[in-house]
């Protein structure tokens, strides 16, 4: 488990504090560290689930989780650099690991490719269904609002009746 240490990046004296500026600097620092991967951490993702701002209404809630899914569904199947921390027999161990990887690569590649395909298809299906339901609910809400307006507005009722005198 990795730990992080935050080096102080701000030097503020006792006089003339501008918290808005300070918060802006904090956000810039966060943006830089995020780009450097310092906040790519499953523990943060778990904690962030409690952030009510992301869950203010149903649509935002679903958008938030769909965005999370989009970030997470594809397993990285690219090749990677094989290294060895131990200095003693280092090059030998690297060669051994490379050989093992060459033997396994074909199988894992097939496996993870299929998994990525399934994940992608499932997410697409979920997004399509969600979009369809969202549009349908919006249409129904607009229709209910229109009907409510008609019920509350007797003038329109009279007008409707006069427009159709025989009904």
């Amino acid at each position: 488990m990795t730990t992080t240490t935050t080096t102080p990046i701000f030097t503020i004296g006792a006089e003339g504090i501008d918290t808005a500026k300070l918060v802006e600097e904090i956000r810039q620092a966060v943006a830089e560290k995020t780009a450097a991967g310092r906040y790519a951490d499953a523990r943060i993702a778990r904690a962030e689930r409690m952030n009510l701002v992301n869950l203010k209404n149903e649509e935002e809630f679903i958008d938030f989780y769909l965005a999370g899914l989009q970030d997470a569904i594809f397993v990285d199947i690219n090749d990677f650099e094989i290294v060895e921390r131990r200095a003693r027999l280092g090059s030998l161990l690297v060669a051994l690991k490379k050989t093992i990887w060459k033997l396994l690569k074909f199988y894992t590649y097939r496996l993870w490719s299929q998994q990525n395909l399934v994940n992608g298809l499932l997410l697409s299906a979920l997004e399509t269904t969600e979009h369809r339901h969202r549009t349908r609910i919006k249409d129904l809400e607009a229709r209910i609002a229109g009907l409510e307006k008609e019920i509350r507005n007797p003038k329109s009722e009279i007008r409707n009746k006069s427009e159709f005198p025989n009904e």
Partner: protein, 393 residues
Amino acid sequence: MPPPRKIAFVSPRFPEGATIGGAETLLRTLAGYAVAAGLDVTFLTTCARNHFTWANEVPPGTRTIDGIRVHFFPVDSDRDIESFLRVQERISRGTKVTLDDEMLWLKNNVNSAALINHLKTEGATYERIIIGPYLFGLTYFAAAVDPRRTVLVPCLHDEAFAYLESFASMFRDARTIMFNSAPERDLAARLFGEPMEKMPVVGMGIPPFDAAPDAFARQNKLTTPYVIYSGRREPLKGTPLLLAYLDTFRQRTQRQIKLVLTGSGQIEPPPSLAPHIVDLGFVDEPTKRNAMAGALAFCHPSVNESFGIVLLESFMAGTPGLVHAGSAVLQHQCRASNGGLWFRNYPEFEESLSLLCDQPDLRRALGAAGRRYVQSEFAPPRITEKLLTALAG
């Protein structure tokens, strides 16, 4: 216009002894200012104390408490809780409900027919009826008795309930709407479009006090720094977020930081954080103030606040705030005072708290700025003056 002589306050609960919600504390405090200013004040409330059960715990009748004449009325017992919860769940999920459903929700909300009857028969004797907070059936029906005399103290939040048509009509019809902060008023202006003259910002006074920053840690044998939160612990107040963030912060930074909690409500901390929480429950004011004064920061993770009493108290104790940026009000208090920082997500929380840990000079300067702000903006005589002006309107 001179201020009225005889007024009534209406609130679902009356805070007595241990702190009840912020809105009720606000109304009681304002009632106290009105008594001190020589007004004839009656406080109409229910016999309930617990905001989950709404059981009638206080005997009905009239008592004089700190110069305020308080009438306790029983809460109606014929609520259809099932219908209430069914509609409430839909509203809180942001689903549009019909006017009939809104009314069903209001009728089965917390109500007191006895209190409403009192207002119907005696209401004309009160020149102003100050009613709040907005989110209760009792408030809605009390405000409907005589809107021309009604002064709303809504304690408004940007939440699904604020968008109900019933509340829009209540805001439109009220004579005056008193707000606790400028962002709360801005929200109402956006939602209801009422003229600014009708919507004064009054707030609540924070009495000045001095606290001993080392006393709390000494008494509780705390040797590591701590952050503090005071108030109700529930999801809408953001306490699960605070627990999750602090646990993550401890794991990622390996900093030995504790969390001190005062107030009511259950918490379910992650097992890795549980040994590092000092949960005091209800404490007396001097203990709370000393605990605030010794903290690294007062962390307020709520996004639903209309004033932030405890944040301002921590400013008065000389402690900086660390608040959720999603609360326009808390962010405003930190920004206007230069007494606190605000975060939108975990990375900003980690950066901000690390900064407060590493830079004691900055922490002290933020704390001092917050204290100056509260002393100048929320001195009780100043708030009394604003209250009397608002009631005269």
